[in-house]
């Protein structure tokens, strides 16, 4: 198949010390019954407004928090085919680095979970519903964190050069969410 990820290695460094976005709104159904894809530092969506504003950390040396890196990987696998490498859009799907400037976290989550349709004589745009896709939903907050960092202009295109390690907890949560 033909999948592209032309990436550069620019990394805009910036320091933000914010908590990770909550995963409480993730509503995916897993066979295992596990439903916590990422580490959580907050437990409700309502209390997380400021975290949703900046759901990422990027250290002065450019080291990104694990969710941002994880989001980079998952975005550039699941979402890239329409939304383009690094969220810059394609000939048929919007640039999410722009969309996230206006979409709220709830709108983002709703669109990813349930999809969106805009099909008429001039436009054939169809966003699929990813609600049942663990490869997306287990990492939805990671993807959001990554896109928000991109959208805020604090993370450049391409693969983040440095990232926090993947902890054992994260690995276990990932395995549990993906179903073993």
């Amino acid at each position: 198949m033909r999948l592209n990820g032309i990436g550069s290695r620019i990394l805009t460094t910036a320091a933000f010390a914010v908590a990770l976005l909550t995963a409480g709104a993730v509503a995916h159904a897993q066979d295992t019954g596990q439903a916590q894809p990422t580490q959580q530092q907050n437990s409700t969506t309502t209390a997380a407004t400021s975290d949703q504003d900046k759901p990422y950390t990027i250290a002065p040396d450019g080291t990104v928090s694990w969710p941002v890196f994880s989001g980079f990987r998952r975005f550039n696998s699941e979402c890239i085919v329409c939304h383009g490498p690094d969220g810059v859009g394609s000939t048929f799907a919007p640039a999410l680095i722009d969309s996230l400037k206006v979409l709220t976290y709830e709108q983002f989550l709703d669109t990813v979970t349930n999809g969106k349709t805009e099909v008429n004589t001039a436009v054939q745009k169809k966003m699929p519903a990813f609600g049942t896709n663990p490869n997306v939903m287990c990492f939805i907050d990671d993807i959001y964190a990554y896109l928000k960092a991109r959208s805020d202009g604090v993370l450049g295109r391409g693969r983040p050069q440095k990232h926090d390690p993947k902890t054992a907890d994260v690995g276990q949560a990932e395995d549990a969410c993906l179903g073993g």
Partner: protein, 600 residues
């Protein structure tokens, strides 16, 4: 459609100005004759051998510089336009990506629209098409036009009226099965392949009866012998029997059921051997660690008996894929001398960067050489075992999950993708549109959900170290496996080539240029910038004594996803000089056919 309606009937009925050919017992027989007539372009690759060559020579290397636009036609669709128009008599058939509009144009009336067909399709199919909603063209036989829709419906249309004659669903888009490939007519059957390798579908090729749409046979890319249509003793791989259930034994558990190996490329047919040739694509998932085994028969060249679908021979080019090097590219059938001996050859330019020359009777491997010097994932291919000699540094399996394996050439799009090559019997050379792109590849664990993407790797792509061009257009000698000449192109060359007896070779570029080059030297003779980037194939035909060149422009497909975003930054560590401009700075969307001719 009336059974005995001869093709000549409707054409005469419309124009009354074309030569007669007889109605025949097999749809095939008519096409066997038609493909010899250089005035027409009756199947997407020009002929059954897949040569994309025309005997027309009114436009030649001396006068091609005078080429002018004769007329243009808008499809009204914005997405990527692959494939090209067919010309049968005075009729031209032009197709478009989703919603898969088909137009029948009357060349005797200045391209007047005789009919337009636009299927109603569930828009839910759009996002399960991995890389834009492309379609690679329609097929013609027996007074019918065959369209393979995005939603996998194969539709037979009355070539004269556009009326639907029959329709059959080849797959299930809710599971990620989609249609992008052009159908192929063989005997009284229409053959189609599948798309959806990134959704964990199981690929197959299916033959349907031309008249009724009834299924004749279906051969899967993996599964038990009853599915793959293999005989453990008689079906061979490099001369050796494949053994029992090779399509399940080389997989872990029942992973073969979601094994990929889709068949979205081009088919060829040798009527003397009665064999149909095509390639199968990547095994699902892209994470090789999760998918142990050779994963047969993904990444394979197939030779099947056209009547029964039984597999005569197979050759798996990339066992246990680690890079998404689909094997679906066209299979060119030529007769050439190797070591002084005339051989029936099959020539294939694979995504993995090797140009393969095989004996198409037996499947013996004769030549396997890199057609892009940048290829580094393997040093060579052993002609006896057929195995690539892999380089551990570039193995994403050896690197493992959560490891970013860097500097692999080619990238997942391959040294060449679906864009079909051309072959000139006059020069004995193949003209190949190629990609010149490398990648980093990081596989990681994923889970399968029906109808959802099943990829499992993140990629970054960039030009090879020290180079600034993302593509080349090359001339290749398949008997020796050597590049004769190579033209660097700013972007991947994503357009099907055309070679002509006028010693001119045509191809399109992603910026939108139609280019004509000298078949011997590669010297550029002509260029014209069409309205949008070209990912379509260049075709030619003659009408009313005049030779025309036709090509669809309309950027999209792979290019619409990636190239449009462009390369930015300094590519530090990779040695590329300067910044690469995004394709969006060169061209914008829109499907248009441009037809060229010499001035009066």
């Amino acid at each position: 459609m009336a059974k005995l309606m001869p093709a000549s009937g409707f054409i005469l009925g419309l124009a009354g100005a074309v030569s007669l050919w007889s109605a025949s017992a097999l749809a095939n027989d008519e096409l066997l004759k038609l493909q010899q007539d250089p005035k027409q372009w009756v199947m997407p690759l020009g002929n059954y051998a897949g040569n994309r060559y025309s005997k027309l020579d009114q436009i030649n290397s001396k006068n091609v510089k005078n080429l002018q636009v004769a007329w243009t036609f808008s499809t009204g669709v914005l997405r990527g336009h692959e494939g090209g128009p067919l010309v049968i008599g005075n009729m031209m058939y032009v197709h478009a990506p989703f919603p898969n509009t088909v137009f029948a144009l009357d060349l005797s009336k200045g391209g007047q629209i005789v009919w337009k067909y636009e299927p109603k399709q569930d828009p839910n199919v759009i996002p399960v098409m991995c890389c834009d909603t492309v379609n690679r063209g329609v097929a013609y036989a027996d007074g019918l036009i065959f369209l393979h829709q995005a939603d996998t419906n194969l539709v037979a249309l009355d070539a004269m009226t556009g009326k639907e004659v029959w329709k059959v669903a080849d797959g299930d888009p809710s599971k990620g099965e989609t249609g992008t490939s052009a159908p192929m007519i063989i005997k009284n059957m229409v053959l189609v392949g599948t798309s959806g390798g990134e959704f964990g579908v199981r690929g197959h090729v299916t033959a349907y009866d031309v008249k009724s749409g009834k299924q004749v046979w279906r051969g899967y890319s993996m599964g038990p012998d009853s599915d793959t249509l293999m005989d453990p003793e008689k079906t061979t791989a490099l001369g050796q029997p494949v053994g029992k259930d090779s399509g399940t034994a080389t997989w872990k558990g029942d992973q073969w059921k979601i094994g990929g190996g889709t068949t979205w490329g081009w088919m060829s047919y040798d009527p003397d051997l009665n064999l149909v040739y095509y390639g199968s694509g990547n095994p699902s998932t892209w994470n090789p660690v999760q998918r142990p085994g050779d994963n047969k028969w993904s990444m394979t060249i197939w030779a099947r008996d056209a009547d029964t679908g039984m597999t005569k021979w197979v050759y798996q080019m990339t066992p246990h894929d680690e890079w998404d090097y689909d094997g679906v590219n066209e299979m060119q059938l030529v007769d050439q001398k190797i070591d002084g001996k005339e051989r029936k050859l099959l020539v294939h330019f694979d995504r993995n960067g090797f140009g393969y020359t095989l004996d198409r009777v037996t499947g013996e491997l004769l030549v396997a050489e890199k057609f892009d010097p940048a290829v580094n994932w393997a040093t060579k291919v052993d002609l006896k075992t057929g195995l690539p000699d892999r380089v551990k540094q570039f193995s994403t399996e050896a690197g493992g999950q959560d490891t970013n394996t860097q500097g692999i050439c080619p990238a997942a799009l391959g040294s060449k993708d679906e864009q079909p090559s051309a072959y000139s019997p006059k020069t004995g050379l193949f003209y190949v549109p190629t990609n010149h792109v490398c990648m980093d590849y990081e596989p990681y664990k994923i889970a399968y959900t029906a109808g959802q993407p099943y990829v499992g790797a993140t990629l970054s792509m960039y030009p090879p170290k020290g180079d600034s061009n993302l593509g080349n257009f090359i001339a290749w000698d398949a008997t020796t496996g050597k590049i004769k000449w190579s033209i660097p192109e700013t972007f991947s060359v994503w357009s099907g080539a055309l070679a002509t007896a006028g010693n001119v070779v045509f191809y399109g570029t992603l910026e939108g240029y139609l280019k004509a080059v000298d078949a011997e030297t590669g010297k550029e003779l002509y260029r014209f910038k069409t309205p949008s980037g070209i990912i379509g194939n260049v075709n030619t035909y003659e009408y009313d004594g005049k030779q025309y060149i036709a090509v669809l422009s309309g950027v999209g497909g792979w290019a619409g996803i990636g190239m449009a975003a462009g390369l930015t930054g300094d590519q530090e560590g990779l040695g590329a000089v300067g910044a690469y401009k995004a394709l969006s700075q060169y061209t914008a969307l829109g499907g248009t056919m441009t037809v060229f001719a010499l001035p009066e």
